[in-house]
């Protein structure tokens, strides 16, 4: 599984899901509408900088706090290809994997990537290339890779029900 794209850096550590998607919009259920509120408490201008091949590059403990899946749902609705971060908060990380949105912890790569950097990620070899510089990432546990490759936990569950 290979993912390629262009970096958009979200600065700072411990960026919480409240700033990524403020609580007042939690009464929204449609991901297309969730899109409109992504990053609102952080920097709404980030939305205009999303491209069709955006990979978000983030800091430590990204996605801390609330379990609101609205955040990765909105990211997925925008077509964000994956996230590369120094580290991720647990529930946010689960939510990403469950939606088939790769969240890759790789401190070194997240540290060197700049806005516009080209990223090439090979889940098979565990190699991550940022503007030609090679990094090795921690391999995703087999079961989680299976979920991502199925397209998320929903699809994985459909298969399980069909069996």
């Amino acid at each position: 599984m290979i993912v390629e794209g262009t970096a958009l850096v979200i600065e700072g550590d411990h960026v919480d899901t409240d700033v990524l998607y403020p609580g007042r919009y939690l009464n929204v259920v449609d991901p297309e509408e969730m899109k409109r509120h992504l990053f609102e408490g952080l920097d709404p201008g980030l939305r205009a900088r999303l491209r069709e091949d955006t990979i978000l590059v983030v800091g430590e403990n990204f996605g801390a706090g609330s379990s609101r899946e609205h955040v990765p749902l909105a990211m997925k609705a925008w077509g964000i290809r994956c996230l590369v971060g120094k580290s991720f908060a647990r529930i946010f990380y689960r939510n990403c994997i469950n939606l088939g949105l790769l969240a890759i912890p790789c401190r070194e790569a997240a540290g060197v990537a700049r806005d516009g950097s080209r990223l090439h990620i090979d889940m098979g070899t565990g190699r991550l290339v940022v503007d030609g510089r090679r990094f090795t990432m921690q391999r995703l546990p087999g079961f989680l890779l299976e979920i991502v490759q199925a397209g998320g936990l929903e699809a994985w569950a459909r298969r399980r029900l069909a069996d």
Partner: protein, 425 residues
């Protein structure tokens, strides 16, 4: 092989042969819980998974608490869809006016027993650790999977053992203890781990105080915050639940990720200053900080214990003319008991607003959100930027004594100062 408490609990809820930190296993749920915010998103995902019925309707419980009473038409529609779904599925539903804030409520109603696994569509599901249960917060897709299959995938967490040593100073509550822990290990210090609270200072805490401590385990990044069950747990559960349980604890020679000690004689009343629960300072260091709003409530600190502490400050005193104070009893039962004890009368007499049980303004939803430039002292659990309203507002987290004292003084003060100042006739 010696095991930690969380390994024992998860081991009893899985078919996996090996339950050691980092291993990914499937864990069976005893209870699956969601609310008006996480539920409807999960129901759609469950449908797309192809599951028409929940795995076991006796084990599913839904609570209307976030946008209740309905804030606007969109919230009303959400609450309506939650109720309709519960009726169609035949699961337990605590509707508006019938329950309260999910975590306080589920403990109160006997859904939570030591050793149980509870999957909740809310990050503060970790509160159930107060009763020795593995309560953990999950997102909506996880929740959908739990509703359909009664299980979730889990990377077995390590355990950080926190020993509270000795006895507390005056005006120090569960809130201060957990703030001290977060200050010690950091807001990401517990990621992929659970916290386990032991020692004489943990054993002496009441269940209300344990709820406050466990509630903010997630603010240290942890999956839950476990208090091994003891006599206090048993006394609390008596008459509340028919669910079987037994007390377990970590083996003395179990392997911990880390062990930390918090000598309680060194913990003063604390506040977490904006904009992080880890930005912890003694209340004295924040002294003189002007306040616009005080909010006493939420799943962390809306218990009877908190209301009694606040009432002790408010009795015979007035909310500062510049300040609005909002008191939110966490559940209907707490509200009724507060009426019986005369606490509500004290709040109203002091000039405070008493709101119905709701998550309300804690998450910036409604019922007391903040304007730009405003500052609040609250007993809630998160003070992220913009959490309670405007991005330009500020939140200080504190215990109920400190919050009530700030309401009276119009600024942050040590509650002892207000209480020793006498009452105005």
């Amino acid at each position: 092989m010696p095991q930690t408490l969380v390994e024992k609990i998860l081991g009893a809820h899985t078919d996996a042969a090996e339950v050691s930190p980092g291993k990914i296993i499937m864990v069976r749920c005893d209870v699956v819980m969601a609310n008006d915010v996480s539920g409807p998103v999960a129901f759609r995902a469950m449908e797309r998974m192809g599951a028409r019925r929940v795995f076991d309707r006796q084990k599913v419980v839904m609570v209307a608490d976030h946008f209740t009473p309905a804030k606007d038409a969109a919230s009303a529609a959400l609450l309506r869809s939650l109720e309709n779904w519960c009726v169609a599925q035949g699961v337990t539903f605590y509707g508006q006016g019938r329950g309260g804030i999910e975590h306080t409520l589920l403990c109160e109603e006997g859904w939570v027993v030591p050793g149980a696994v509870i999957a909740g569509g809310d990050s503060h599901t970790c509160t159930y650790g107060a009763l020795g249960a593995f309560g953990t917060g999950l997102g909506s897709t996880d929740l959908a999977f739990c509703l359909a299959f009664g299980e979730f995938w889990e990377a077995v967490p390590g355990t950080i053992q926190v020993t509270f040593e000795g006895s507390r100073r005056p005006f120090v509550t569960g809130k201060d203890l957990i703030l001290a822990v977060i200050a010690h290990i950091g807001v990401a210090g517990g990621v992929n781990h659970v916290l386990e609270f032991v020692g004489s200072g943990a054993e002496s805490l009441t269940v209300d105080e344990r709820l406050a401590v466990a509630n903010m385990a997630v603010e240290a990044g942890a999956e839950t915050g476990l208090f091994p069950a003891d006599g206090i747990t048993a006394a609390y559960l008596r008459g509340r639940t028919a669910r079987p349980w037994r007390a377990e604890r970590s083996d003395p020679d179990a392997e911990f990720v880390r062990r930390i000690r918090i000598p309680l004689d060194r913990v003063p009343p604390l506040v977490a200053a904006p904009h992080s629960p880890g930005n912890v300072v003694p209340v004295e260091e924040a002294r003189g900080t002007r306040v616009d709003q005080v909010y006493i409530g939420n799943c962390a600190n809306g218990t009877l214990t908190d209301l009694r502490q606040a009432a002790e400050v408010f009795r015979g005193r007035h909310v500062h003319p510049r300040v609005r104070a909002i008191v939110v009893p966490a559940t209907r039962a707490i509200y009724r008991e507060a009426v019986r004890e005369g606490l509500i009368d004290v709040f109203l007499g002091a000039g405070a607003i008493v709101a119905p049980p709701t998550c309300g303004a804690c998450f910036g939803g409604h019922m007391g959100v903040l304007a730009a430039g405003e500052r609040a002292v609250t007993t809630t659990n998160r003070n992220f930027r913009g959490r309670m309203g405007s991005r330009e507002s500020e939140v200080y987290l504190a215990n109920a004594w400190v919050a009530a004292a700030a309401a009276v003084a119009g600024e942050i003060v040590h509650p002892g100062e207000v209480l020793s100042s006498g009452v105005a006739g």
